[in-house]
Amino acid sequence: MPLKIISSQCTSCSACEPECPNVAIYEKGGTFVINPKKCTECIGHFDTPQCAAVCPVENTCVIDNSVARYQAPA
């Protein structure tokens, strides 16, 4: 339950890519995308998702409700 990047708003500035603790972000077709299998919403790493915190365009790195939420291992 990962985050996703709304590609129409992405400026392709790459700020999110190195901030991701899971190395889930990569460039694809001119904008950046999040690999939903790797994204943990930064749970266990930081208080807030890093991509959303560093993104210069508001509401561009958002929760992707179409995918089940991440469960931290018990």
Partner: protein, 520 residues
């Protein structure tokens, strides 16, 4: 500066030796100019003066650090650093950064390898290109790997090119040692405030240590980091220029405090730039209707800070992929496709030979100015006025009025000719005919000037300029700017003395907003 010059030369004794006075002012400010250059600014000195040799070597052919050098030497920026770690209200990241680059012009992102190739291609084509800067379009130090990889590649292949970078300062303290390690001589920090309350009106947030901070807290972190970074750089002997965006009603008066704060921490040069806030750029300030300063407001602030330190007035607020002399943009000649297809032959000897010729040209210009300046000795007048100049570079009046994309503005007084700024204008001449509307734009842009010096001008604009009270002057075509301006000023003073003309103070002028687009 004029005030202090008059102060030191008592009114009882007319200014007989301008050179001595200028040198005294320069010494008072802790830096030298070659006597009589007409401006006491390290960043603008025509010669070494009493500047320490190591500093002179660093600035003498850096167009951004020396006003005088910017007529002769070119720079380029490579856009390898798209990410940023703060948000500014004058910047919209959907386009380019409006601060370190011109807004509304889409730049190609480059990899460090592409950037290195581009630098070699440009350096081979433009031998007077002496400086490579990384200025974004985000923040170079928010992209440290790409920035330093680029420096590493260029230092290897083109060791004669000076490296510099421009940063918002948030990450600066973490990278000062690396910067010093790459022999980066020049660093620019954009500092718009030293008071977090004011900063909160300029910066909505900063991203620091894995957290987004907002409001006063964010501005406090930013200002602390900026000033710490500045101190660390100056301790290491790296020259620092401070850029400040003048935002009327928010930080305009406060910039005097900023000036003192950065001066006391060893900044070399202060560059106060007008806010760019066209609504179409989609910035917060553009959308809230925050205006930029007028030409007079900007000059008044620059003048009031000049007593404290050296002011840069020739900044073109260029984009993060600009190429060429400061007033021109040749980036379209060097797109990635074109440079990859170019055969590059980096010939260091040829570059050196070319630059030696530039130095000769430059010395001739300074000598001509000194000679003309001596004719002003004995003149005693309080008259100070502005003139606009159409130039393509080399310190010459060598541009047709209708082809000028900008005018350089000089302040004339009995102390000489002093560069005080430039005005961007729309191309007046398009396809060989003038357009009335753009002529009005030009008149608004240089409305505070008494005369405009050109290589050539058509009959129609000539009449309209005269009607607007701006004298078109074409008799100094292809001659040195300062020499000609001083000669014209001398004859102006003579006419005022003889009663032939009456000196009238001019009004304000408009700073043109928006991007300078390469001539179509």
């Amino acid at each position: 500066m004029q005030a202090s010059a008059q102060h030191e030369a008592t009114p009882a004794a007319p200014v007989v030796n301008v050179e001595d006075v200028m040198q005294k002012v320069a010494e008072h400010k802790g830096c030298g100019t070659q006597g009589g250059s007409g401006k006491a600014s390290c960043g603008s000195a025509a010669g070494q003066g009493d500047l320490p040799t190591e500093i002179w070597e660093k600035v003498k052919n850096h167009p951004c650090y020396s006003e005088e050098a910017h007529h002769h030497y070119a720079r380029m920026h490579v856009a390898v650093a798209p990410a940023c770690n703060i948000q500014c209200n004058y910047c919209n990241r959907k386009y380019d950064c409006a601060n370190e680059s011109r807004p509304g012009v889409v730049s190609e992102k480059l990899s460090p390898e592409q950037a290195a190739k581009k630098v070699l291609a440009v350096a081979s084509t433009i031998p007077q290109m002496t400086v490579l800067g990384i200025a974004g379009p985000g923040d170079p130090l928010a992209n440290p790997e790409k920035t330093f990889k680029t420096f590493e590649l260029i230092a290897k292949t083109a060791p004669d090119i000076k490296l510099c970078l421009s940063t918002n300062g948030l990450a600066l303290p973490d990278h000062v040692d690396t910067i010093a390690g790459f022999n980066v001589d020049h660093v620019t920090i954009t500092i718009n405030m030293v008071d977090p309350e004011i900063g909160a009106k300029i910066y909505p947030w900063v991203f620091w240590k894995h957290k987004r901070y907002t409001g006063v807290e964010a501005a406090k972190i930013l200002t602390d980091r900026q000033l710490q970074g500045l101190e660390m750089l100056t301790e290491r002997g790296i020259l620092c220029k401070v850029n400040s965006v003048m935002i009327p009603g928010i930080n305009d008066k406060h910039l005097v405090e900023v000036n003192k704060a950065v001066k006391s921490r060893g900044a070399f040069l202060h560059n106060i730039m007008p806010l760019i806030s066209s609504p179409e750029h989609g910035t917060v300030f553009g959308l809230t209707g925050q205006r930029g300063p007028t030409a007079q407001e900007l000059k008044a602030l620059q003048d009031s800070c000049e007593g404290e330190m050296n002011m840069m007035r020739h900044c073109r607020q260029c984009r993060a992929d600009a190429v060429g002399l400061l007033g021109e943009d040749r980036s379209a000649e060097f797109t990635t496709d074109k440079i990859m297809a170019m055969e590059v032959n980096y010939d260091l000897d040829r570059r050196k030979a070319y630059q030696a010729k530039v130095e000769e040209e430059r010395l001739a210009k300074v000598a001509a100015k000194q000679e003309e300046l001596s004719t002003l000795a004995g003149q005693n007048s309080d008259i100070k006025l502005l003139v606009a100049v159409a130039t393509k570079g080399s310190g010459l009046i060598n541009e047709h009025f209708g082809h000028a994309k900008e005018f350089q503005v000089y302040e004339l007084s009995t102390a000489g000719a002093k560069f005080v700024g430039h005005r961007r204008v729309d191309l007046y001449c398009q396809g060989g005919y003038g357009e009335e509307e753009s002529l009005e734009t030009i008149i608004r842009a240089i409305n505070d000037c008494h005369a405009v010096f050109v290589a050539k001008i058509g009959g129609c604009p000539k009449a309209d300029l005269t009607k607007a009270g701006i004298e078109p002057v074409d008799q100094f075509a292809h001659e040195f700017i300062e020499k000609s301006a001083i000669a014209w000023f001398k004859s102006y003073l003579d006419k005022v003395t003889s009663g032939e003309i009456e000196h009238v103070v001019r009004g304000d002028a408009e700073i043109r907003q928006g991007a300078l687009i390469a001539a179509a």
